[in-house]
C-alpha cells in the first residue's frame, strides 16, 4: 500500500518510536502515585502523549494526501557534523588554534567547489580572529596550544 503523506508518516513514526522508548526507560523507575509522584510519573504521561501524537500523524497519513519527504543532502550534513566533532576532539588534545583550523578545513569539504588556498587563509584568519576576540578581548579561558591549558 502507498503512503499518501510521507512527511507526516515518518514524523509520526519518529514520535511514536521516541514515545515507546521513553515509556520503556521510565518503566525502570518508580512510578509512585498522583499524590506522591515518583521519578517515572511525569515522563510516563509525556511518553504516552507523544506515542498518541505519533499515531494521529501516522494513521491519517496512509489515507490523506500530504507533503512528500524532503530529500536529505548527505555531504553538507556529514561534513558539518564531522567538523564539529573534530573541533571537540582537537580542542581536548591539540589546543584551540589547531581546533579552529581543523574545523574550517573539514567544514569546507561540505562545499563541492573546494578552493584550497582560500580555505587555508580562512582557517588562519578565523583562528587569529577568534583568539583575539574571545581570549584577548573577552578573557575567555581556552586551552590555546597542544598540551597547554
Amino acid at each position: 500500500m502507498r503512503i499518501k503523506s510521507p512527511s507526516d508518516f515518518w514524523c509520526g513514526l519518529l514520535f511514536a518510536a521516541i514515545g515507546i522508548a521513553v515509556l520503556a526507560v521510565a518503566g525502570q523507575y518508580r512510578l509512585g502515585t498522583a499524590a506522591r509522584m515518583g521519578p517515572a510519573y511525569f515522563p510516563t504521561l509525556l511518553g504516552g502523549l507523544l506515542l498518541f501524537l505519533g499515531f494521529t500523524l501516522t494513521v491519517p497519513a496512509l489515507f490523506k494526501d500530504g507533503e512528500p519527504l524532503q530529500k536529505l543532502h548527505w555531504r553538507p550534513l556529514l561534513m558539518v557534523l564531522l567538523s564539529v566533532a573534530v573541533f571537540g576532539l582537537a580542542l581536548a588534545y591539540l589546543g584551540f588554534a589547531v581546533a579552529v583550523a581543523a574545523l574550517v578545513v573539514v567544514a569546507s569539504l561540505a562545499n563541492p567547489d573546494l578552493r584550497p588556498l582560500e580555505t587555508a587563509g580562512l582557517a588562519v584568519f578565523l583562528a587569529v580572529f577568534s583568539i583575539g576576540l574571545f581570549v584577548g578581548l573577552l578573557g575567555v579561558p581556552l586551552p590555546l596550544w597542544p598540551g597547554g591549558s
Partner: protein
C-alpha cells in the same frame, strides 16, 4: 510616583562604566553575529551567552538584552539587503525592505528600521516598567496548580504560532518537555534518561540544543541551497538618513507598529514574530494610500520593524514577572538567570529590585546604543554581508562551537551539539518548527515540579487544576486557542498570515 523612583534606581544600576560598556559590547557583538545570514536572535544569544557567565547577574542580563536587540536589528539588516531573514520575525521586512534596496533606497530602509525600533523600544520600556509590578503582585498569589496551567497556556500559545502542522508542533513541545527531564531528578535523586553518561547528570545543555537546532542545522540546510543567487545591494547604499518625507509617511506606521507590538509581545508564544506579521497585515489595510505595499513602501518596513522591537521588549514581562518564557530567546534568558543562581519569577521584583529595574533601564540604553551604533556602522555590516556564504559559514560554525564549549569548558558538550545538529536537520526535513521544542526543554522540569506540588497539596486529586479559578481560566484560554485554529476559517487566516 513609585515608577520614577524605581526607574531612578534602575538607571543608577545601569549607568555605571562597567554596565554601559557591557551593554555596548552586547549590542555590538549581537549585531555582528546577527547580521550573518541565517543566524537569528536565538542562535546569537545562545552563542554569546557563555561570555556573560563571569559577570554579576545585573551586568550579565544587561549585556544579554543588548545582544538580543543587536541580533534583532542585525537580522533586519540581512532581510533588507540580501532578502534572507535572520529569523522569522524579520520575514515581513524582506517584502518591502528588499524592494527598497533594489530601488537604491537601502539606506533609508535601514535608517527607518533603526529609528522605528528606537521609538518602539523606548515606548515598550515604559510599558514594561508600568505593567510588571502589578502583574508580579498577582503572580505572587499563584498556587502550584495555577503555575502549571499557566505553562500549559504558554506552550499552547507557542504551538498555535508555529508554522506548519499543529500535531507536529505539539509533538515538538512534548519532545522538548521530555528532553528537559534528562538528568538527576531533584526529588528522588534518580538519574533519568542519562544512559549511564555522566555528562548528562546535570541535564541536557540548552545552549548546545539551541545552537544545534537554530545554528548548525540552519547552516547545513543553507549549504544545500547553493547555486541560488544571493543579490547583495551594497554599492548603492546612499544616505542612511530617511528624508523628511519618508519620516512623515512613516510616523503613523511606527506609532501603530509600536502599539500593536507592545500588546502582542506580552502574549505567550508571541513576541517579535507575531507582532511583525500583524503590524504588516494591518498596515496594508489601514495605511493610505495603500498602493505601494510589496513594491518598496517605506511604511512596510517602518511598521513591522517598530512592532518587532516593541514585541521583543514586552516579551520580557512574562519572563521577568512570572518566570515563564514566551519565546525561545526568553527561554535562553531564563536559563541565563538560573545559571546566575536566580530563580526567575515574581519574587525577583521584590527581592532583587536593583536587578529588575537595572534590566528595565538598560533596555532603553540598549536601544539608544543600537541607534547610535547602527547609523554610523551600517557600512561595516554591509561589507560583512557582501562576503560569500562559503566564507561565512565556517565562521558561524566556529562561533557556535566556541559558544557551546565555553559553557562548561567541556568538550563533551560539543558531542551533544553534534547530536542536536543532526536532530535539527532531521526536524527541518520533516517540517517541524524547533521553537516549541526549546520552550518545552526549559519548562519541562518546572512543569513537573508544579504538577507534583499541586497534586501533593490536593492529595492526588487532579481536579485541583479546574477547581482553582485562575488555573481554570488559563486552561480555558489554552483550549480556546487550540479550538480557534481547529475552526477552518481562522485556520486559513493563520496559514495565510504565516505564509506571506
Amino acid at each position: 510616583m513609585d515608577i520614577i523612583a524605581n526607574l531612578a534606581l534602575g538607571f543608577g544600576v545601569a549607568v555605571t562604566v562597567t554596565n554601559l560598556l557591557y551593554c555596548f559590547l552586547g549590542v555590538f557583538l549581537g549585531t555582528l553575529i546577527g547580521v550573518l545570514p541565517g543566524i537569528g536572535p536565538v542562535a546569537t544569544v545562545a552563542m554569546l551567552l557563555p561570555l556573560t557567565f563571569s559577570l554579576d547577574p545585573a551586568t550579565a542580563m544587561i549585556m544579554l538584552a543588548g545582544i538580543y536587540y543587536g541580533a534583532q536589528y542585525g537580522g533586519s539588516t540581512t532581510a533588507i539587503l540580501v532578502n534572507i531573514p535572520g529569523e522569522s520575525s524579520s520575514v515581513v521586512t524582506t517584502l518591502d525592505g528588499y524592494q527598497m534596496a533594489r530601488q537604491g533606497r537601502a539606506g533609508p530602509a535601514l535608517g527607518i528600521a533603526a529609528i522605528g525600533s528606537f521609538i518602539a523600544g523606548s515606548f515598550a520600556t515604559l510599558v514594561v516598567a508600568l505593567f510588571s509590578p502589578p502583574l508580579a503582585e498577582i503572580a505572587l498569589k499563584f498556587q502550584p496548580a495555577d503555575y502549571f496551567s499557566l505553562m500549559v497556556f504558554g506552550l499552547v500559545g507557542a504551538v498555535v504560532l508555529a508554522r506548519g502542522s499543529l500535531r507536529k508542533a505539539i509533538g515538538m513541545v512534548v519532545l522538548g518537555l521530555i528532553l528537559g527531564l534528562v538528568g538527576t531528578d531533584v526529588n528522588s535523586g534518580v538519574m533519568r534518561f542519562t544512559f549511564g553518561i555522566p555528562a548528562l547528570a546535570e541535564g541536557i545543555s540548552f545552549v548546545a540544543l539551541a545552537m544545534g537546532l537554530f545554528g548548525v542545522a540552519e547552516v547545513i540546510a543553507n549549504l544545500e541551497q547553493r547555486g541560488k543567487n544571493r543579490e547583495v545591494f551594497t554599492s548603492r547604499l546612499g544616505s542612511v538618513l530617511p528624508s523628511r518625507g519618508d519620516l512623515k509617511r512613516s510616523a503613523w506606521s511606527i506609532a501603530r507598529g509600536t502599539g500593536l507590538g507592545s500588546v502582542l509581545g506580552i502574549l505567550p508564544g508571541g513576541g517579535a514574530l507575531l507582532a511583525s506579521f500583524a503590524a504588516y497585515t494591518i498596515e496594508k489595510k489601514v495605511a493610505k494610500p495603500p498602493r505601494d505595499f510589496g513594491n518598496g513602501d517605506i511604511r512596510g518596513v517602518a511598521a513591522p520593524e517598530a512592532a518587532n522591537n516593541a514585541g521583543a521588549q514586552t516579551s520580557f514581562i512574562p519572563m521577568l514577572t512570572l518566570g515563564v518564557p514566551s519565546n525561545p530567546t526568553m527561554a535562553l534568558m531564563i536559563g541565563a538567570l538560573m545559571i546566575q543562581g536566580i530563580q526567575p519569577g515574581p519574587q525577583v521584583l521584590t527581592q532583587r529590585p536593583e536587578l529588575f529595574w537595572g534590566i528595565v533601564a538598560s533596555m532603553w540604553i540598549g536601544n539608544l546604543f543600537l541607534l547610535a551604533l547602527n547609523l554610523p556602522l551600517i557600512g561595516l555590516w554591509v561589507r560583512l554581508l557582501a562576503a560569500p556564504y562559503r566564507l561565512l559559514f565556517p565562521a558561524i560554525l566556529v562561533f557556535c562551537c566556541i559558544g557551546v564549549f565555553t559553557i562548561n569548558n567541556n568538550a563533551s558538550d560539543l558531542f551533544q551539539l553534534v547530536v542536536f545538529s543532526a536532530l535539527g536537520y532531521l526536524l527541518i526535513k520533516l517540517g517541524c518548527e524547533p521553537a516549541p521544542l526549546i520552550l518545552g526543554l526549559v519548562l519541562g522540569p518546572m512543569m513537573e515540579e508544579y504538577l507534583r506540588r499541586a497534586l501533593l497539596i490536593s492529595l492526588g486529586d487532579p481536579t485541583v487544576l479546574v477547581t482553582s479559578p485562575l488555573s481554570l481560566a488559563f486552561l480555558l484560554a489554552a483550549a480556546a486557542l487550540l479550538a480557534s485554529i481547529a475552526v477552518p476559517l481562522i485556520r486559513s487566516k493563520r496559514e495565510e498570515a504565516l505564509k506571506e
